[in-house]
């Protein structure tokens, strides 16, 4: 399992299996080997003085996991949670350390295999400074799925989180 993980390149999209989820009307994809598990929405304990998009922490089977509201992170309007609201637990590796971090999404769609030829690199757009969040854009039928570089998305958060709460890594 560890081997597989290491085999998968961390940047730039290649084909493979993706977990797709929804925010607003848009569909996003994450490489499936970065996903630890999917859980339904559960009570989140707020953390004092945390960033606005840090919802708090949850206790998942004895492990405290920080939770990021991806909507707020992406600068979208906050939304009341529904029955379909899920938390995707992402496994992060920083050197030897493995940390988990949860992201709140509107709903989880499916596990999808996308071939590399169906993935385009992110377009160079005027006024869009930073494309580091996107690995590419997948074309599936008539839809578009944005392949997220979840490490980039969560990088600052990890730093911020560590700075702010100085959470000791458990594993």
């Amino acid at each position: 399992m560890d081997n597989q993980l290491t085999n998968i390149p961390e940047t730039k999209a290649v084909g493979g299996k993706f977990l797709t989820f929804n925010l607003e009307q848009e569909e996003y994809g994450i490489l499936i080997n970065r996903v630890k598990e999917i859980i339904g929405m559960m009570p989140v304990s707020a953390i004092p003085r945390a960033s606005q998009f840090i919802k708090g922490v949850i206790n998942l089977r004895g492990i405290v996991i920080p939770i990021v509201d991806l909507r707020l992170k992406f600068g979208m309007q906050a939304k009341e949670q529904t029955e379909k609201t899920c938390i995707i637990v992402i496994e992060q590796k920083k050197g030897e350390q493995k940390t988990n971090i949860g992201i709140i999404v509107d709903s989880v769609s499916e596990v999808l295999t996308i071939s590399p030829e169906n993935i385009d690199p992110p377009p160079a757009l005027v006024g869009c400074k930073d494309h580091s969040y996107l690995d590419g854009i997948a074309k599936s039928k008539n839809c578009i799925k944005m392949i997220l570089n979840i490490d980039e998305v969560l990088a600052e958060e990890s730093a911020d989180y560590k700075e702010k709460i100085q959470l000791e890594p458990t594993h």
Partner: protein
């Protein structure tokens, strides 16, 4: 027209004045007659007295002549006898004049002056008489005879003069009496004339004029009464005609009332039937209400059942969601497992598909249930609306029942009222017939009145003829009288009178 007031002067004493005037005239006539008769009787005596008194003068001279004849011895014896007779006559007449003599029908002289004169005569007569007697008895040659003759001759003229005076006084007295009689007669004539004139004026002013006025008024009144009677007659005719047509109308009214009565009875019956029907309708409405209550109850039950179903479906949906999550996690695990997890990934996918189908079915069922519940709600609201409508119907039925009852009682009252109207109409009919009869009577009475008015007119004409004679035209008198009568007092009356005349 009100009767003309009689003048007030007429009210007091026209009769009394005329009576007293006639009494006055009568008395003055009677008084004059008596006075004239009395004077006439005394006048006869006066003539006799004057005659005898005048004869005394002659007798005195005769006695003187006879005495002188005796003295002269002329026919002595015859003269003596004559002288004796003359003396006796003179003496008798003289005494008769003084004290009255029934044989000579002489009254005693009462006039004092004449009586005094007669005393003077008497004073002369006493010696004269003695001388005469001595002449008769004594011898012619005797001294007494001679003295007597001398005494006679001396006193002869004095006696004559005194006697003449007496005669003149008698005559004067007599003529005075005559002039007095004349005066009395003239006075009486004047008196009678004045009384007659006053009587005429009184009669003219107080009776004739009034009678003329009254006669004129009578004529006017008679004409007005005649006109009025004509009016009454025509009015009575109109009234009679009206009464007859009223009687006919009343009969028609009676017929119409009978029909109305029948209809009213029908109305009462119908309203009774309507009342029964309305009560049945009320009953039906109550039943409908009950059924509606039941419908509402069953709908509520359905609603609760539906909500239970919804809960179950939610549970199913939950389970489907959880299953989906599990399938996704399984897929994640399978992917992480690489080649080894390939089969597991297929299973996970199938599980996920099932979960999605379950969720879809649950969603569809939930949608159906939701639709059902919505329809139920709609049905409930419809039932409520229906119930409200039925409530309104009930209210309306109540009101209709009240109204129908009101109509029923009203119809009963109408029947009673129609009966009373029938009675009234019978009375009216009776009265109308009486009216007609009375109108006929009034008409005949008016005709009689007309006749009587003409009679009165005739009477006034007769009265005019009595007063002014047949030659005078009644109308001329009338017109003249009207002018005097109305011209001063009441000007409008002739106008109205003329109007009425025009109508007549």
């Amino acid at each position: 027209m009100k009767p003309t007031q009689r003048p007030e002067r007429f009210n007091y004493g026209a009769r009394a004045i005329i009576f007293w005037l006639i009494i006055l005239i009568a008395f003055s006539c009677i008084g004059m007659s008596i006075t004239a008769l009395a004077f006439l009787s005394t006048q006869k005596q006066d003539g006799l007295v004057i005659n005898i008194a005048g004869r005394q003068r002659m007798l005195s001279q005769k006695m003187s002549k006879e005495a002188i004849s005796i003295k002269s011895n002329i026919n002595t014896e015859a003269n003596r006898k004559a002288l004796q007779a003359t003396h006796a006559l003179f003496n008798k007449s003289h005494l008769g004049l003084l004290k009255g003599d029934e044989e000579m029908q002489l009254p005693a002289t009462t006039n004092k002056k004449i009586l005094e004169q007669l005393q003077k005569v008497d004073a002369l007569w006493s010696p004269f008489s003695k001388n005469i007697l001595e002449i008769i008895e004594q011898d012619q040659d005797s001294l007494a005879f001679q003295q007597s003759v001398t005494g006679i001759l001396t006193n002869n003229i004095a006696l004559l003069k005194e006697m003449n005076k007496a005669v003149g006084m008698y005559e004067e007295a007599s003529s005075k009496k005559i002039s007095l009689l004349k005066n009395i007669l003239i006075l009486g004539a004047i008196n009678s004339f004045v009384a007659s004139v006053i009587c005429w004026m009184t009669v003219n002013r107080k009776i004739i004029l009034n009678i003329r006025k009254i006669s004129a008024d009578l004529k006017i009144n008679a004409e007005e009464v005649s006109n009025s009677s004509n009016h009454i007659s025509s009015a009575s005719q109109v009234l009679a005609d009206g009464s007859t047509s009223a009687a006919a109308s009343l009969e028609q009214t009676t017929e119409a009332l009978k029909e109305i009565s029948i209809m009213t009875h029908q109305n009462a019956d119908h309203s009774q039937e309507a009342d029964d029907l309305m009560q049945k309708a009320e009953q039906a409405t109550k039943e409908a209400n009950n059924y509606m209550d039941q419908v509402t109850a069953s709908q509520r039950e359905i609603a609760t059942e539906s909500s239970k179903i919804v809960k179950i479906i939610k549970t199913i949906d939950d389970i489907a969601f959880q299953t989906n999550l599990l399938a996704l996690n399984a897929a994640v695990e399978a992917a992480r497992a690489g080649e080894a997890g390939a089969g597991f990934a297929v299973v996970a996918n199938e599980v996920r598909n099932l979960a999605i189908r379950a969720a879809t079915s649950a969603k569809e069922t939930a949608g159906l249930i939701e639709t059902t519940v919505k329809k139920l709600d709609h049905g409930t609201s419809l039932v409520e609306t229906t119930r409200e409508s039925f409530g309104k119907v009930e209210d309306s039925i109540d009101k209709v029942v009240q109204l129908v009852k009101g109509v029923a009682t009203g119809s009963k009252r109408q029947v009673q009222g129609i009966e009373e109207i029938n009675k009234s109409i019978k009375t009216l009919d009776h009265l109308t017939h009486e009216n007609a009869a009375n109108a006929e009577e009034s008409a005949s009475a008016a005709a009689e009145l007309h006749a009587m008015a003409e009679q009165v007119d005739q009477v006034s004409l007769s009265l005019m003829e009595v007063i002014f004679g047949a030659a005078k035209k009644h109308n001329q008198v009338m017109v003249a009288d009207q002018r005097t009568h109305y011209g001063t007092k009441t000007l409008p009356r002739p106008i109205s009178y003329k109007k009425e005349v025009c109508h007549g």
